[in-house]
Symmetry: C2
Subunit: 156 residues, 2 copies
């Protein structure tokens, strides 16, 4: 692929509803306007971490706050996308132990729309923007299906 | 009430299935045998905190690990009681922010059996053993009802 084609693909991914929502979630957390002049591409860049780079991140000790915020924004974007489709307001809970293990949960009423175990959360990231988009869309889709199938439980 | 009557009531409460389970959960966490020679009554005593005593506990800063473990044992006891009744294995997640706010969640499959917001978790406790028992039993009962009503969701 030429650089131009790569750029074009990235552009398409960045314009996808999921990535747009992710950017919105990141900017929503940016109370001090630190990222105000950053492009969307730059904002989502830290989500892409190569396998080699991952291996270099230590999994000893706490997950640092920036990584935690990144995980939160990712799951908040999924929650927002599910809400847009189903109208269900949901709650996002990221529970991480000191060793980087834990849960990412999105629930509405008594229904868990997303329930993911996290491990080595210090290394949270995706091989590429495509992978990030695919994962986000997959979880969103699954959540929507559950919400439609068990609407009653989501409204308890 | 005479001291004797009070003791008799406490004895009855301590022998209730919920309190017995709570004691079991506390002892299960006691890897170093620190509580081995403690009576059950002594073990559950820290769950009873008077309103005045609560007010004296600072809600600034982190919830201390001992209080966190106490909250965990309480919700694990509820999960175990629900399991005994319904056969559903569940997961307990206690998510606390640094300010003592957060969630206590018990879920099985995609069904939330218990979903409680926590606030001022530094002050977690009950007015009396009776109240502790009543709260524990109430949440257990509610969880069982949900599990029976939405069994399919709990088995997703």
């Amino acid at each position: 692929m030429t650089t131009e084609t790569v750029n074009q693909i990235n552009e398409e991914i960045l314009n996808s509803p999921f990535l747009q929502e992710l950017v919105r979630q990141i900017r929503a957390q940016d109370s001090y306007g630190f990222y105000r002049n950053w492009s969307n591409e730059l904002l989502v860049k830290p989500y892409v971490i190569s396998k080699e780079a991952k291996r270099k991140i230590s999994v000893e000790g706490d997950v640092d706050p920036v990584t935690k915020a990144r995980i939160m924004s990712f799951y908040r974007a999924i929650a927002a996308q599910i809400e847009q489709e189903t109208g269900l307001i949901s709650q996002v809970v990221i529970d991480l132990s000191h060793e980087g293990f834990g849960w990412a949960l999105i629930f509405s009423g008594r229904l868990l729309l997303v329930a993911r175990t996290l491990r080595d959360a210090q290394r949270f990231g995706f091989d590429s923007l495509e992978k990030l988009l695919a994962e986000g869309e997959k979880m969103t889709q699954k959540g929507i299906e559950l919400a439609q199938k068990y609407t009653e439980v989501a409204k308890v």
